[in-house]
């Protein structure tokens, strides 16, 4: 049997990174949360994001008004150009599938297959203040609907001229955010 992980250093060495809570305790701060009320919302925007962190993490539980397959998109700094791409690996419950979205006007980070059950996700937005690098986003997300569902590993790129991210807009391809949807943005030092 391999030795157990017994130290923070050994956990880090095995590549758990942002998913290793012991490495970020005390350096993980809530920035802003949006919870959707009874009237729903067409989009959710986080603006004036402070530049004092190293990474951002977006955690959500979402409910889509749209009844069938619908993607959740992310845009940065109001950029509506075709400056976003993504790759994904997902499980449908019967097969594992790789997917790619060519340059498009928003970065897909989530997918809701039904409006009857919540879909959830955790997105890490890495080195968001850099003015020298394009921005990358990794997401673990999914929705299980008691007999159907998908789990995704999303990887996204914003390839506009490198700039610090100061605002994030979230929207669906077809639907709107229904009541009880909640999106929380955190900063990681």
């Amino acid at each position: 049997m391999s030795p157990l992980i017994t130290t923070k250093a050994s956990a880090s060495a095995q590549g758990y990174g942002l998913f290793s809570p012991a490495l970020v305790t005390g350096n993980f701060q809530s920035i802003q949360t949006v919870t959707v009320g009874a009237g729903g919302a067409s989009n959710i925007t986080f603006s004036s994001i402070p530049s004092t962190f190293t990474h951002l993490q977006l955690r959500w539980i979402g409910l889509d008004s749209y009844a069938s397959g619908d993607s959740l998109y992310m845009q940065f700094n109001g950029d509506t150009g075709s400056n976003y791409v993504q790759h994904a690996l997902y499980g449908s419950g019967s097969s594992a599938v790789g997917a790619y979205t060519a340059a498009t006007t928003g970065m897909p980070i989530g997918y809701s297959n039904t409006n009857s059950y919540p879909f959830v996700g955790v997105s890490d937005i890495l080195d968001y203040t850099s003015v020298n690098k394009n921005k990358t986003v990794r997401t673990l997300d999914g929705q299980d609907a008691n007999g159907s569902g998908y789990v995704f590993l999303h990887s996204g790129l914003w390839f506009n001229t490198p700039q610090a991210i100061t605002s994030i807009k979230l929207y669906f391809g077809s639907g709107t955010f229904a009541q009880f949807s909640s999106f929380a943005l955190y900063g990681v030092k």
Binding site: M1, S2, L4, I5, T6, A11, Q14, G15, Y16, F19, S20, P21, A22, V24, T25, G26, N27, F28, Q29, S30, I31, Q32, T33, P50, T52, F53, R59, W60, I61, L89, Y90, G91, S92, G93, S94, A96, Y117, P118, F119, V120, G121, V122, L140, D141, G142, Q143, D144, A145, N146, G147, S148, G149, Y150, V151, L153, F180, S182, A184, Y186, G187
Partner: protein, 166 residues
């Protein structure tokens, strides 16, 4: 502006003897999400079962899940419905880490959805999403982790963290 530090350790259990089930009870309702981190191994290859409840663990057939696995030679996906717990991923006899994220666990308006990820370098990597159709949309205040028909080995650790949104 940021609202202050979060990602708070709520409780940690380090096993001094081989144990089948570890329980976290009376979980405070003051956070937005919970994260359970397991680092350890099992005495045999079996399902790492997670039970959820409010006051007591729900052992009804209220759990379902969809998962994605890579074995080193192929990727696959599967689904389970009508189980008495979240029954994946698999826990092995060599070292691995399993992380469950219980999203918006204290709300009483929706079913509860859980993301999980398992890294077992000697066996497989797995990600999954699970649904607990909580009776009356109950909040989660008790969680169990079980090495089904086996024991977690001495030295295995379980840590429960809370994340509070602004």
């Amino acid at each position: 502006m940021a609202a202050g530090s979060t990602y708070t350790p709520i409780a940690t259990q380090t096993l001094a003897s081989a144990t089948t089930t570890v329980t976290f009870s009376s979980i405070p309702q003051t956070y937005t999400d919970l994260i359970l981190v397991f680092s350890g191994a099992s005495t045999g290859t079996q399902g790492y079962r997670v039970g959820l409840g409010n006051g007591s663990i729900d052992t009804g057939t209220d759990y379902s899940e969809t998962f994605l696995s890579g074995s080193g030679s192929a990727a696959s996906s599967g689904r389970r419905t009508g189980y008495p717990a979240i029954v994946d991923p698999t826990v092995y006899t060599d070292q691995q880490t399993i992380i469950h994220q219980f999203m918006n666990y204290s709300n009483t308006s929706t079913y509860k959805t859980v993301l999980y990820r398992s890294n077992s370098a000697g066996n497989e990597v797995t990600s999954g999403v699970a649904l607990w159709r909580a009776p009356s949309n109950a909040a989660i205040n008790i969680i169990t982790a079980t090495a089904y028909t086996q024991n977690f080995v001495v030295g295995s650790t379980f840590t429960l963290y809370g994340i509070a949104a602004a």
